[in-house]
Subunit: 333 residues, 2 copies
C-alpha cells in the first residue's frame, strides 16, 4: 500500500488475449510484462504458443479459449477493468462484459493483408464493442474503405471509423504521408469523438529509427492502455463516464488520449534507440569474432543472428518505460 | 546501459519451463515476472495452459515441448545462462546444454504424492544433471529414501542427496521438525557440497504466516535463481567454475547459497505479510457487503472469493522483491 505512488495508475486488472512466443518480446510476452511493470495485474490467455518467428507450435482452439474465459467467470474472477486483445476467438463470451476494451485489429501492413480474408469481416463485427482501436495505416484503410494519401483522406478515414463503428477512441499507429523534401519521419494520429461523433484529431511526429524491430505494435498497445488509464484517472470524474469520452469542449491536443500517446512515444523512442545501439554493438562484436575465427555463417545464420541482436531490450530498460521524457508533442491536424 | 546498476545481476538469460495459469501467480506466470523484474531475460516454454486451480486447459505434448526447444536451438537462440524447470517433458533436448540448471522436483507435499508414480523415477534420472534442487521436506524424503524426523536424519537425507545424485547445491524449502513448546516456525535448510561431496549445511528460521498462499514455491525458486546468480557473481572467479561450487574452506553460513536464501526469505516474508493484510481487508469488505446486501454466497463461492483475495500481491510490491530487508540469518546446523 505504501508503494502505490510508484505506479502511474490505480489498481487495474487487465485481461490480455494474444499469442505467446517462447523467445522474444512479441504478443502477450511483450504486452504482459510492459503492463505488469507499470503496476497492472494481468491475466493472460495465450491463443497460441509459437516458436521464434514461426507459425508453428501449440494452438488453442476457439472453444478452448472460450472455455478458459468461461472458467474465469465461473470462478468469479472476471472483475477486469480493461481488456487488450487482437482477434478474439470465442468473442461471444466476453462481449457482454463491461470493461474498457482496447482492440488492436491486426490484419496486415504496407498494403498487404497477412491474415485470412474472413478475419476482416470478423474484426468489423468486433469493433462496434471496442472502446479504443489501434489500426496502422493499412488497417485503417481496410476498415474505413478510405485510401489515405493526404490530410483530407486521413480525416475522412477517421470520421468514417467513428461513424461506422461508433468507436469513441482511435489511434492510427503509423502514418506515412508523402512530404517531398522532408527527412524520414513517422506520425501517429489519434482522435476521441465528441458526443455527436465529430472527430477531434491530433498527430504526433516522431523521428524514424532506421531498423526493423519486432513486437513494437504490442509494446505500443500495452503502454497506451496504461497511459490512457493514467490520463483518464487524472481527469476528475472521467473514469466514471461511459467509454471515458472527454467533454466536448476539450481540445484535441488536450485529450487524455493525446497526453497518453506523448508518453508512450517517449518511452518507445528511448527503448528503441537503446536497442539499436546494443544491436549495432552486438553485430560488430559478432563480425569481429567471425573475421578471426572459424565461424563462417551462411545467409540464413546471419539473418538469425541479426534478428536476435535486434530483440527489443526491454527488461533492462524499465526506467524508460516508467519515466518517459516527453519530447514529441501532440499537434492539431 | 546506464541503468545496469538498477539490477542485482549481470545480463542473464533464463529458460523457464513450467505451466502457465491464466489467472493468478503460479508456475511460469509467477516465475517469469519475478525474474524479469530483477533484470533477467526470460524465455518461457509453457507446458500447459490452465484455468484457475483446475487441471483443465490446453496441454502441450512432450514432443511439442521438445519441438519448441529444438526450434530455439535451430534459431541459434539457445544461449541461456540458466534454466528453471520442474519436470521436463522432452528432457533429452536440453540435457546436453551447458547452463546452470535449477530443478524444482515438484512431486508432492505433507506426506502425499500428487503426481503419477512414474514421475518419481523420472525426476531421479533428471537430478544427476541438475546443479541446484529445491525439494520440500516430503520430496527430499522421497528422493533420498530417508524419513526426516530430527536433525540427524535431516543431515543424512542431505548427505544422501549429494552422494547419490552428485548434485552440488540443495535447498530444502520447508522443514517442520517437532520442537515442543516453541511457537510455529518454518525453516529452510541448504547445503553446497565440498569437492569431496561433504555437505555444508545451514538453516534459516522464519516465522510462519497463518495463511495458505498459492505459487510461493515458484516465487521461492525464481527469487533464489536470481539471488544465487547475484551472490556467485559477487564472489570473484566463482561464476567461471563448474557448477559454481564454493572453495572447500568457505563456511556453510558464508556460502553464496546461504546469502541468496537470506534475501529470498526477506522478500517473501515482506510480500506475503502485505498479501495477508490486503486479503484480510478484502474479505472484511466482502463480508460487510454481504451483511447489508442481497448476496448470500454458498460455501463454494466463499471459497473462491477467499482464494481470489489470497492471491499474492506481486505487481504492486516490487520494492520488496528488489530491496529485501534481511532479518532472518543463516545459522549452522
Amino acid at each position: 500500500m505504501s508503494e502505490v505512488s510508484e505506479f502511474p495508475i490505480p489498481e487495474t486488472h487487465v485481461l490480455a488475449v494474444a499469442s505467446h512466443v517462447v523467445y522474444g518480446y512479441v504478443g502477450n510476452t511483450m504486452a504482459t510484462f510492459v503492463m505488469q511493470s507499470l503496476g497492472c495485474e494481468v491475466s493472460s490467455i495465450n491463443t497460441v504458443q509459437l516458436r521464434y518467428g514461426q507459425a508453428k507450435g501449440t494452438r488453442a482452439t476457439a472453444s478452448e479459449i472460450s472455455d478458459l474465459y468461461q472458467g474465469l467467470r465461473d470462478s468469479y474472477l472476471d472483475s477486469f477493468d480493461m481488456m487488450l486483445s487482437g482477434y478474439l476467438p470465442g468473442a461471444a463470451a466476453v462481449e457482454a462484459v463491461a470493461f474498457f476494451w482496447v482492440l488492436d485489429p491486426v490484419m496486415g501492413d504496407n498494403g498487404k493483408l497477412y491474415v485470412a480474408e474472413d478475419v476482416v469481416p470478423a474484426y468489423k463485427a468486433l469493433i462496434k464493442d471496442a472502446d479504443l482501436i489501434l489500426p496502422n495505416q493499412f488497417e485503417a484503410e481496410t476498415l474505413s474503405g478510405v485510401k489515405i494519401v493526404d490530410m483530407d483522406s486521413l480525416k475522412l478515414a477517421i470520421s468514417t471509423l467513428h461513424e461506422t463503428y461508433h468507436v469513441p477512441h482511435i489511434m492510427i499507429t503509423s502514418i506515412t504521408l508523402p512530404t517531398p523534401g522532408a527527412t524520414a519521419s513517422l506520425a501517429v494520429v489519434g482522435s476521441t469523438a465528441t458526443t455527436n461523433s465529430e472527430p477531434r484529431m491530433f498527430s504526433i511526429r516522431i523521428p524514424a529509427i532506421d531498423c526493423f524491430f519486432s513486437g513494437t505494435g504490442d509494446m505500443f498497445a500495452a503502454l497506451l492502455l496504461v497511459r490512457f488509464r493514467e490520463a483518464v484517472f487524472n481527469t476528475p470524474g472521467l473514469s466514471e463516464t461511459d467509454a471515458w469520452r472527454s467533454d466536448n469542449d476539450v481540445k484535441a491536443t488536450e485529450l487524455p488520449l493525446a497526453q497518453a500517446a506523448e508518453k508512450v512515444l517517449a518511452s518507445m523512442h528511448a527503448v528503441l534507440t537503446k536497442t539499436k545501439e546494443s544491436r549495432d554493438l552486438e553485430l560488430e562484436l559478432y563480425k569481429k569474432k567471425r573475421a578471426t575465427g572459424t565461424d563462417t555463417p551462411d545467409g540464413k545464420k546471419m539473418k538469425l543472428v541479426t534478428s536476435k541482436a535486434t530483440e527489443v531490450r526491454l527488461v533492462r530498460n524499465l526506467g524508460s518505460l516508467k519515466n518517459p521524457n516527453v519530447q514529441f508533442r501532440a499537434e492539431d491536424v
